[in-house]
Symmetry: C2
Subunit: 351 residues, 2 copies
DNA sequence: GTGAAAGCGCTAACAA
DNA sequence: TTGTTAGCGCTTTCAC
């Protein structure tokens, strides 16, 4: 079955007994055409089950707008929500939304941006923390320039702009504030030995959380050495492994601040496997408040990051009057949601 | 910033001092061109940061292939995994993958298919159970015909083909077998009063699970009246609400078979809120084995449906030699994964 | 009010 | 080996 010939506007025009120009006018509906002719063309199109060729339209300028989001993986709840937000906002504006995944391979990011340039995406959104080095800055600056040269926009979600005069927008969460708040929550409950599980040195998002963690410690007048960050990276498996490892050494801590909720899930599992209870023996908090965090055992106290809103905001600011918002940094607030995974440290309760 | 003029192949040709034809030949790399000329063109393209216009290419036939998946929402773990599978398999073949969401509005399905026809998607994949009525059959038959007429393919994931001679492929799970297996598991543990929570009458996927549930009951020689299905639909909220309702009447059952893991999450919450324990007081099983099912309290016994594989298989069968596989129904196996949410019913343990 | 024709950027004959 | 040319399907001046 070689592809059959598609029905074109020419076929419609012919059947309606008009020129392609007239057919085009009624089909794209941007030019007045008398009722009778109009009806005739419409009827022909219907009969032929005609659909316009989007590529031909795009070529001549009247194409559908497209926004593209690139995430690590859609199965990660956080990224899924961002993608959903982007899709929803795009759809609301009649734009098409294409979502791509890097699977963690940075090289696929370049391929994706290139592809989107070819496809003529008007807006590309890169989501997620990165290690911010010279290579990153150069790469992203290049994306930004290239996209801008074609009249498209680049939005960075949760990652920094590569430089001051780069035509890119950034929208992110105040990771440091969120981390500071939830660390304070732990501190207020009486914890003094808190480990941060899931550092990823160089990653902007995680580094900010670690910074917030350290800041909270300092605010409570703990010495810098009180900080203990385990750089095991993100993901449930890493969390479980690192926690199990930590537990072996005999727990020198009373609370765990997991880099995100998936790490917390792994940590919870490891703690349970070690025969310890949360929050009685160890308190645990996460980050992101994924929908199922309330179903963990125990329900997880965590930091709510409105991921869907992040996605929506990314397209909104890009659509907003172009110029003015450029190179402004938009930051979205977060707040902690208290559930049942935090209690006073055991030492305090049985003095 | 009105879109600046994109750099075209003409610019590249000019800078390289060759004709556009030659430039095209080296750029698309499907025709032998001497090293020196080749290098010159490539250098020009690089210098100009040229990217081909995908629309122009598509128009003339050499466009990039695209596959489109439509799901209810990407934030649902099951759908996210299917989408990931599709994306991964598509990427492996160098195809582009576009994911759309209906958000549950059936009318958006039509819009999406239409859109994909315009975009020239070579493959569109519709995912998820549906209520199979005449309207559905007519609608999908029309999609299939239209897509086929353009040489594209339609794959139905987890939903039935609308008729025998419709040019659509279907790949799905054996929902009935999975449901039968896990119901048997409950029965073997001694349960005789099992309620099915999350029916959605008319929905093919749920109906099949209910059928499997009934079949298992019958196999164990229980009368048809032993079946108790609550048609509360899917989703965590529905599960929680329906379970709470059920609990009010005084539990006339010892086990719950949730229509999917999200319903199970809600049910678990409601049971805990009622002061009862799982599995001591009530056993609970789910369906799908989403990644976090192991993190529920207690870890959930459920049916593993390889969602990512479903997505991958959908594109594989579509790509496979076209003709032969047409209108064959592909069914993927499932198996139960035993965790900690099932025990013998309380009555049996304290006779 | 409607049609003829130019041209969007590219590839693929067909010539040279 | 390389260039010239004719479209792909559509929109949009510019005439009539």
């Amino acid at each position: 079955m070689a592809a059959k010939r598609r029905v074109t506007i020419r076929d419609v025009a012919e059947r309606a007994g008009v020129s392609v120009a007239t057919a085009s006018r009624v089909l794209s509906g941007n030019y007045p055409v008398p009722q009778t002719t109009r009806a005739r063309v419409l009827r022909a199109a219907q009969a032929l089950d005609y659909v316009a060729n989007a590529h031909a339209r795009a070529l001549v300028g009247g194409g559908r707008k497209m926004v593209a989001v690139l995430v690590r993986q859609v199965t990660s709840p956080f990224y899924a929500h961002v993608a959903e937000g982007v899709e929803a906002e795009a759809a609301a504006h009649g734009w098409l939304c294409l979502v791509g995944q890097t699977g963690g391979e940075p090289q696929r990011e370049l391929e994706f941006v290139q592809l989107m340039r070819e496809e003529g995406a008007r807006l590309v959104i890169l989501v997620g923390g990165v290690v911010e080095d010279d290579d990153y800055r150069a790469r992203v600056a290049q994306y930004a320039q290239a996209l801008d040269a074609a009249g498209s926009r680049l939005v960075l979600c949760g990652r920094p702009a590569p430089g001051p005069d780069i035509p890119a927008l950034v929208v992110e969460f105040d990771n440091e504030a969120g981390a500071r708040a939830i660390t304070s929550h732990l501190l207020s409950a009486g914890h003094r030995k808190i480990v941060f599980l899931g550092g990823l040195p160089g990653n902007t998002a995680l580094d900010a959380r670690v910074a917030g963690y350290r800041a909270a410690l300092a605010e409570h007048r703990l010495p810098p050495q009180a900080a203990h960050v385990v750089d095991c990276g993100l993901g449930r498996a890493n969390g479980q492994r690192a926690m199990a490892e930590l537990l072996k050494g005999g727990p020198e801590f009373t609370a765990v601040f997991a880099g995100d909720d998936m790490v917390a899930a792994g940590a919870l599992r490891a703690i349970a496997d070690a025969g310890l209870r949360v929050p009685d023996d160890i308190s645990v908090v996460g980050y992101n408040d994924i929908p199922l965090a309330a179903d963990f055992h125990p329900p997880l106290t965590t930091v709510r990051t409105p991921a869907e809103e992040l996605g929506r905001e990314a397209v909104r600011i890009a659509l907003r009057s172009a110029e003015d918002s450029l190179s402004t940094r938009h930051v979205l607030g977060t707040h902690i949601v208290v559930r049942e995974s935090v209690a006073a440290p055991p030492a305090e309760r049985t003095p």
